[in-house]
Amino acid sequence: MNTQYGSGPHDGSDDGSNTDYVQILDAGGNVRPGAEVPDLGDEELLAMYEAILLARRFDQRAISLQRQGRIATYAPMTGQEGAQVATSYALAPDDWLFPTYREHAAKYVHGMSLASLLKPLYGHRDGYAIPDDVNVVPEYIPIATQVPQAMGKAWGDMIQGRTDRAVLCHFGDGATSEGDFHEGLNFAGVFDVPAVFVCNNNQYAISTPRDRQTASETMAEKANAYGIEGVRVDGLDPLAVYEVTRRALQKTKNPVDDERRPTLIEAVQYRYGAHTTSDDPSVYRDEEEAELWRERDPVDRMATFLESRGILTDERAAAIEERVNERIQAAIDEAEAYETEPEAIFEHVYEEPSERLQAQRDELERLREKYGDDAFSEVLQ
């Protein structure tokens, strides 16, 4: 395993005693002795911090919107923003991102607008539509199904000679139990495709703890079974995640000697909050457990690191906070003003709608004209 940047301390995580992972910042946000800070300029580091802070504030606002009944079920990411932002920061614009329903910040950093992240939560599928210049596929909700698809995308690009681009695929610890995880990684190894697989091990698949998901000591070691490299990184250390991801992406494009292109990265993190706003973690875990992880919070660590270098000042921090909140508010306003027409149900089912589907569209239109839209408001009334 790749641990040249220094191993982490025992962190009290419940996934066993193995805290042998890549770390650049210690729990307090100081650069570990002997660790090398990624080659990023001050502005890039500040931008990364701003994106991490934006992710935290976005999460807080989204949870609040759900509680007010303005949006539907939301999957929070607090605690995981650092890994999401850092993995996407490592991507080149031409690289492709395969996110899950929790990777809001990863999608945003790789080019999706904040309003588009919110639209599905307001019930509009149009939020999944991807602008032509953004290489993000619609988020995956059925678990692990993206793994073989990401492999296939990387494979297709490689076959067609697009060797300057890679695919980065996210999934969680629970996904490693699904057949699709095995099949996707096995294909990736066999066909040696330019793909990086990121397991966001946040310790829980809804209520199921990591040690119930697999008897393996780590998620990263599963890579051994596929003949590819596995790397374990402190997922609450944005600099370490960035560096590990950057190196993995570089290897997909320029493998040296007999290196195989794919890498499985296990980003060890913790879901501070609920699985979704429908979930109540107090039923299945101890709140004290989260506190141990909060002591290594990615927002705080990044802020401390930047402050110690004189990059983040009080003045800059205040400006960032204000800008972030303004952006989120603007996105909420845009998403709330958005409307989906009922005819949209029938759009994009096929390139050419069948006659039967067109007849069904006409049928709904006729019923709406006859009875008015209020008649369609509640199924049980």
Partner: protein, 352 residues
């Protein structure tokens, strides 16, 4: 007595029980549908040690809809099992457990996440009896919440009952009332063959009704007449029973007398009740939230053609979800059959 009494055994009807009582003198508690599912599991686990529950988050968490609440505390981790996140693994393991003599009840967290288990269900659970020439059977229950109308995310709202109904060797049931939920769960667990229990999550907590404390079965393959009528038969199931009944009451004011038949069992179909109702009315609508093409409504319509053609006064009308992916929630209520659509469709049949 009504046709309802001909077709059901066990639970008392609303009229027989004081609705205000939490527990009536006969030991019937007021439960929601999801509570009745849980009560059914509890009752069966109490009477048969081989019954076990397994799935994602069914143990300590009590299920994401609380359908297995408190079972873990009552029966322990050997019989109420939080599995790794793997639907094919859950159903495949359940087939093996059934072969070993257990009575597994597997939960698929949502129907939209059951597809990894499809191979295990259709290639193996459904046909091991046939392949072993009767030597082995797979007494397995697979429960899955299905259907729309709850503002759920993508993939959480589909109604794909036709996938399972199409498979010989599988039985498929769906309750529309709490008391039926308990009775169908019991009958499914005791059945010697694999049964898919589809739970309409839109009405998981929509209303309460008295559910007997004791164990009872609703026999698989029996429909229930929810409202008797002379003019038109509506065949429906699950969450769509409710808007069908609302539509029937509205139409009664116009002098149209609608019979509402809740099929409850989609495989096997209660063709006797379907045919009897249609012979009386000569006109029929099928209401389901699944897409129209290839839906179970087509099977009902074909059954009517085969069994009661000479009684037919009008085409059988399908009032269904559309042949498009289930939309997200901003417009999902336009996708689902509403009382207004059902009324409109019934008027069309009557005026034919």
């Amino acid at each position: 007595m009504s046709a309802t009494d001909d077709n059901t055994r066990g639970p008392p009807t609303d009229a027989e029980v004081n609705e205000d009582a939490v527990t009536d003198s006969d030991g019937a508690e007021e439960l929601t549908l999801v509570e009745a599912v849980c009560d059914g599991l509890h009752t069966e686990m109490a009477r048969d040690d081989s019954v076990m529950v397994l799935g994602e988050d069914v143990g300590k968490n009590g299920g994401v809809f609380r359908a297995t609440e408190a079972l873990y505390e009552e029966y322990g981790e050997q019989r109420v099992v939080d599995t790794p996140l793997a639907e094919s693994g859950i159903v495949g393991a359940s087939i093996g457990l059934a072969l070993s003599g257990m009575r597994p009840v597997a939960e698929m967290q949502f129907m939209g996440f059951s597809y990894p288990a499809f191979d295990q269900l259709v290639s193996h659970a459904a046909r091991l009896r046939a392949r072993s020439r009767g030597q082995y059977s797979v007494p397995l229950v697979v429960r899955m919440p299905y259907g729309g109308g709850i503002k759920a995310p993508e993939h959480h709202s589909e109604s794909k009952e036709a996938f399972f109904v199409h498979e010989p060797g599988l039985k498929v049931v769906t309750p529309s009332t709490p008391s039926d939920a308990k009775g169908l769960i019991a009958a499914s667990i005791r059945d010697p063959d694999p049964v898919v229990v589809l739970e309409p999550k839109l009405i998981y907590r929509a209303f309460r009704e008295p559910v007997p404390e004791e164990s009872y079965e609703i026999p698989l393959g029996t429909a229930a007449v929810r409202r008797e009528g002379e003019d038109v038969s509506v065949f429906t199931w699950g969450a769509m029973t409710q808007p069908s009944l609302i539509a029937a009451e509205e139409l009664a004011a116009e002098g149209i007398d609608v019979e509402v038949v809740d099929l409850r069992s989609l495989s096997p179909l209660d063709t006797e009740t379907i045919t009897r109702s249609f012979k009386k009315t000569g006109r029929a609508a099928v209401v389901h939230e699944a897409p129209r093409t290839g839906g179970v409504g087509a099977e009902v319509a074909a059954t009517i053609q085969e069994e009661a053609l000479v009684y037919q006064e009008a085409p059988v009308k399908r009032i269904t979800g559309y042949d498009a992916p289930m939309p997200l929630h901003a417009v999902e209520n336009y996708y689902l059959p509403q009382a207004v659509r059902i009324q409109d469709g019934i008027r069309e049949i009557v005026e034919f």
